[in-house]
Symmetry: C2
Subunit: 329 residues, 2 copies
């Protein structure tokens, strides 16, 4: 049986996690990593991975079944998604929730023209959390859905702190507030403010002579990122940051509390919870599973942009339909 | 917009829950309840429900979009599933795991001939738990999946106790063993025996003069049902049984513990947990959501038997694709 031939576009944390994740899937092989940097400067995680310049990707049109786009949602994916949709089946983890409808339309147009399947906004949120919000709401139409994130490192918030003058490095943890989760599980169906759902904890390394009080003030008052939250700031040494905060753990939970019965007298809770040692590794593994789906859907003659809710679960599994019915159902 | 017209076959706990569940879905209406009993003897939960004899169901071929089969998996569904597949789109909750492959083939044959869509083994296990086992395994190929049930009432086990001579009534709770769940969450990836995963607690009402010691012995030694478990037996009065054990709560959790990274150094946990006030109500609501899917798939020209893993999540939602991308993804 021939393997599904995968390409990786962008070689940061996520790209590296896709590279190692593919090794867990016997029906796949990595054809190449495509980067904007000089390929000769790239040291890959696995020994035998090939690295090419992103401008050469088009030459691999017939050799690669699915391109997994591993760039950032801020500026890379909005450009690369529509571009690669003209030539390849793609999977990406585009996660700017508010812009997903427009991004979908743009990718869809190109994918319909090229006859390719492009799965957007895969990963865990958007992604597995989206699927679970949908299932839970469809099953319990009367109820409320809550999403909590963390405890985990938020890259975006860590970056925002690093941009402050005098900050050398920083890591930010998003932490769900247990009291709020308990209220949801207790069936109080609370209306929760931003501040009531999550708090933020920051570990900051400053440059010599920096004004810590000023930095703390700047962090806590930063609009969108911190101003609406209770935020704790800890100043630590670079050694402590490396020793205690080098990982990229994350996670979270989607909870739906719903009611059934002739007078809504029965209560139900659906919870989908993730506890992730490595956010990029887990995200990569979701993208890889959807690469299998993209490959199969394209083989069946499907085309266009899709999100995770448009794809039947069985497309993600390496098992046959018969095997699934026998061993998983 | 015309509503999806639903029929209910079989009017026990599940049928009644489907009847009330439909009221939560504005895009659906109940056309009729079909029973083997004399329709004039049936008192429905809602005032305006119509009841017909099951033999007359065929006359409703063109008036009903989807039949929801609410009979038992022991003897009703194996017969009714293939029969109704010849005339109707159907949804059922057939839950005899070992026989699902054969049942699928039989329904599939008839559904392909009639051009109908028949979704089998929907509900929560099989059903939502099956979906979650599949997703979790596809995302974390290196790992173990565990399913725990309860705390909840098992109808099958309660029935088994009731068949013992001298027993007037009984309720049996399946209880997951916390120590085992903790071991899974801690990443011990344990191999668990049947006895290590669940225990069983029985509340039994006996007839006057019955030999309690003998009954307790019979319960605890019953093969398949109790012999492989640690089982507690409590003899209580009929009043206590009615007062404290009349509900049908259930639930459970699917947990996958998996590893990623070049040397499997990262640990991840995916958990899907249900806490259900009423097992039949929740099961009914899953069947109803899949009835929407069956209706839509049939409209698109699909036919044949399907399980929950063959159906894209979006088919379950009453929201449009655009609305889903805007508000759920």
């Amino acid at each position: 049986m021939s393997k599904i031939r995968i390409g990786i576009v962008g070689y940061g944390n996520l790209g590296k996690s896709v590279e190692t994740g593919i090794m867990q899937n016997k029906d796949m092989e990595l054809v190449g990593i495509f980067t904007r940097r000089d390929p000769s400067t790239i040291k890959t995680v696995t020994d035998d991975a090939s690295v090419y310049h992103i401008d050469d990707a088009r030459k691999w049109k017939d050799q690669i079944n699915v391109m997994i786009l591993c760039g950032g949602s801020m500026s890379d994916i909005p450009e690369q998604g529509p571009y690669f949709a003209k030539m390849f089946n793609t999977v990406d983890g585009y996660d700017t929730h508010a812009k997903i409808p427009d991004y979908f339309d743009e990718v869809n147009k190109n994918a319909l023209e090229s006859g390719k399947v492009c799965i957007i906004s895969s990963g865990w949120d958007p992604g597995m959390f989206s699927i679970n919000r949908l299932y839970a709401e469809a099953i319990l139409p009367v109820g409320n859905t809550y999403t909590f994130w963390g405890k985990g490192i938020s890259q975006g918030h860590s970056d925002a702190i690093r941009r402050i003058k005098g900050v050398k490095d920083a890591k930010q943890y998003t932490i769900p507030i247990e009291k709020a989760i308990d209220a949801v599980r207790n069936g109080e169906m609370p209306e929760l403010t931003i501040r009531e759902k999550h708090k933020r904890e920051c570990f900051v390394v400053v440059e010599e002579g920096a004004d810590k009080a000023q930095i703390e003030q700047e962090i806590k008052s930063m609009p969108n990122y911190f101003a609406d939250y209770d935020t704790e700031v800890h100043f630590i040494t670079e050694e402590e940051l490396i020793k205690n905060h080098s990982g990229l753990p994350h996670g979270g939970v989607v909870i739906r509390y719903g009611k059934t019965g002739i007078s809504n007298e029965q209560n139900h809770i659906i919870e989908y919870k993730l506890d992730l040692g490595s956010n990029p590794d887990f995200t990569a593994n979701v993208l890889i599973a959807y690469a299998r789906a993209a490959y199969r859907l394209h083989k069946e003659g499907s085309s266009g942009a899709k999100t995770v809710v448009d794809i039947a679960p069985a497309y993600l599994s390496s098992k046959s339909a018969e095997e699934i019915r026998r061993s998983i159902i």
